[in-house]
C-alpha cells in the first residue's frame, strides 16, 4: 500500500490491532447498512470485552447480535435494542451493560467526536433519566443538557461504492449512521460493495471523504431484511 490506496486484501488484516476491551463504533440502522464482513471477522477472532457503540445490536443470528453468542460484548451504547433474545438474557444476567442514548444524541456524539467537539448542549433528554447527572444550562429561556462526544478505537462502516482512496458513497437509507461513525474512529475501516478507481467518483458527490478512512475492504453482503413489508402492485 502506497500513497492514498487504502485497500486491504482481507477482513483479518483490516482489523489488525483489534484487542480485547476496545471500543468500536459501528454504522448501520437495524440490519440496514451494517458492516457484515467486519462483524463476522470479529466473531472469528473471538475478541472479547468489547464496548460497541451502534444504534442497534442486530438480531440473534445476524448483525452485531452474533457477537453476543460467544459473549464478546461487555457494553452496548445504543438507542434501541428490542429485536434480540440473547441481548435480553445477557442484560438480565448482568453480563451485558447497556447505555441507552437517544438516537439523535448518539448520531451527534459520533459526529462531534470526529469533529473535535468534546461536548455540546441539546434539549433531548432534559428532564428524563438520560439527563440525570448531566450539566443543565439555559439558553434563550430553555433548558439543555451537556452531552459528551464519542470516539472509538475502531470505527466500522459499510458503504456502497468507494474509490481506492477511501472516498465513500452510500446507497439509499443504508447511509444512516455510517457517515458520522466513519469520522469517529482512531482507525476507521470501511467495507464496500463496489470498488472503483480514483477519479471515477464526482468529487462533489462523495458522502465521506477518504481522509476519514484508514482501511478499505471489498465485501460480500447478505443484506438481510428485518421487516419485509410490501404492497400489492396496483
Amino acid at each position: 500500500m502506497a500513497g492514498f490506496d487504502k485497500v486491504i486484501e482481507s477482513p483479518a488484516a483490516a482489523l489488525d490491532g483489534l484487542q480485547d476491551g476496545m471500543t468500536l463504533i459501528a454504522g448501520g440502522f437495524g440490519l440496514c447498512g451494517i458492516p457484515e464482513n467486519l462483524i463476522a471477522e470479529i466473531k472469528r477472532r473471538g475478541t472479547r470485552d468489547l464496548t460497541i457503540v451502534s444504534n442497534n445490536c442486530g438480531v440473534d443470528d445476524f448483525g452485531l447480535g452474533i457477537l453476543l453468542q460467544d459473549r464478546q460484548v461487555k457494553k452496548m451504547v445504543s438507542s434501541y435494542v428490542g429485536e434480540n433474545k440473547l441481548f435480553e438474557e445477557q442484560l438480565l444476567d448482568g453480563t451485558l451493560e447497556l447505555e441507552l442514548t437517544p438516537q439523535g444524541t448518539l448520531a451527534e456524539k459520533m459526529r462531534a467526536g470526529g469533529a473535535g467537539i468534546p461536548a455540546f448542549y441539546t434539549a433531548t433528554g432534559y428532564g428524563t433519566l438520560v439527563g440525570e447527572g448531566k450539566d443543565v444550562r439555559q439558553f434563550n429561556g430553555r433548558n439543555y443538557i451537556l452531552e459528551e462526544s464519542i470516539t472509538g478505537d475502531f470505527a466500522l462502516v459499510k458503504a456502497w461504492k468507494a474509490d481506492r482512496y477511501g472516498n465513500l458513497i452510500f446507497r439509499h437509507t443504508a447511509q444512516n449512521f455510517n457517515p458520522p461513525a466513519a469520522t469517529a474512529g482512531r482507525i476507521t475501516v470501511a467495507e464496500v460493495e463496489i470498488l472503483v478507481e480514483p477519479g471515477d467518483l464526482d468529487p462533489a458527490q462523495i458522502h465521506t471523504p477518504g481522509i476519514y478512512i484508514d482501511r478499505l475492504i471489498q465485501g460480500t453482503f447478505e443484506k438481510r431484511i428485518e421487516q419485509r413489508t410490501t404492497r400489492t402492485a396496483a
Binding site: 440502522f29 438507542s79 435494542v81 438480565l92 438516537q103 459520533m110 428532564g127 437509507t173 458520522p180 428485518e226
Partner: protein
C-alpha cells in the same frame, strides 16, 4: 363510541396542512399516512435518514437498502432526499419538522410524556422519540384514553420514566381531542357518541370542560 385505530389516524390527519414535513411514529401514527386529504401534499420524514417516504414497495421493488425507522421496507417519493442520521436529527432537533405524531403510555397536565420504558419490563430503548419530542414545535400524541385495564393515561403527573418534559400540547385519544396548557387538559372535541362524563371519568389529570364540546369531524 370510542374511535378505532383507523379513526384516530383520520382525526390526526385533519391536523395536516399542505406543504407540511411530518414525522409519524410507529403504530397508530403510521396509519395517518393513509388519510392525507386529497389535493394536499405532505412529505414524510423517517428519522433513519429519508425525507419523502413513500408506500411499501411491491414485491419487485423491495430493496434492503431502503427502509424506514420501523425497519420496514419502503419506497421514496418523487422529490425525496436521503441523508445521514446526523443530518436527519439536525433536521429534527433544529425544529424543521412541521408536525410530529407519536404514541405514548402516559401524558400529564404539564405536557410531560412517557412513551419508551416500563420499569420491570425489558428496556428496549427510546430510539428517536426523545429527540423528536425535544425538537418539534408541533407534536400530537395519539393513544387510547385509558389502558386496557381501564386506568387513565392522562394524568396529573406521569408515573413512568419520561421521554420528554413539558413538550406536549395536543393529544388525540379514542375518546377526545384535548389541548394541554396552564397545567390542565382542555377538552376541545369528543369522539362521536362519546359523552363528556365518560371522558371526565377516564381523565385523571385536571380537565377543563367548556359549555359545549363539539363532536369530532373525521
Amino acid at each position: 363510541m370510542a374511535l378505532s385505530r383507523e379513526q384516530l389516524a383520520q382525526r390526526v390527519a385533519r391536523e395536516l396542512r399542505d406543504g407540511y414535513y411530518v414525522n409519524l411514529g410507529i403504530g397508530i401514527p403510521t396509519l395517518v399516512a393513509n388519510y392525507i386529504p386529497a389535493g394536499m401534499q405532505v412529505m414524510l420524514q423517517s428519522e433513519n435518514g429519508l425525507l419523502g417516504m413513500g408506500p411499501f414497495p411491491t414485491e419487485d421493488e423491495v430493496d434492503a437498502d431502503l427502509i424506514n425507522a420501523g425497519k420496514q421496507t419502503v419506497t421514496a417519493v418523487t422529490g425525496a432526499s436521503i441523508f445521514s442520521s446526523a443530518e436527519s436529527f439536525a433536521m429534527i432537533r433544529g425544529g424543521h419538522i412541521d408536525l410530529t405524531v407519536l404514541g405514548a403510555f402516559e401524558v400529564d397536565v404539564q405536557g410531560n410524556i412517557a412513551s419508551y420504558m416500563i420499569p420491570g419490563k425489558l428496556i428496549k430503548g427510546m430510539g428517536g422519540a426523545m429527540d423528536l419530542v425535544a425538537g418539534a414545535e408541533n407534536i400530537i400524541v395519539t393513544m387510547t384514553h385509558a389502558s386496557r385495564s381501564g386506568e387513565s393515561k392522562l394524568l396529573p403527573q406521569c408515573t413512568l420514566p419520561l421521554t420528554g418534559a413539558a413538550c406536549i400540547k395536543r393529544v388525540v385519544t379514542d375518546l377526545a381531542y384535548l389541548e394541554i396548557a396552564d397545567g390542565k387538559f382542555w377538552l376541545k372535541e369528543r369522539a362521536p357518541g362519546v359523552e363528556v362524563a365518560e371522558i371526565a371519568h377516564q381523565t385523571a389529570g385536571e380537565l377543563v370542560v367548556p359549555k359545549t364540546v363539539p363532536e369530532m369531524q373525521l
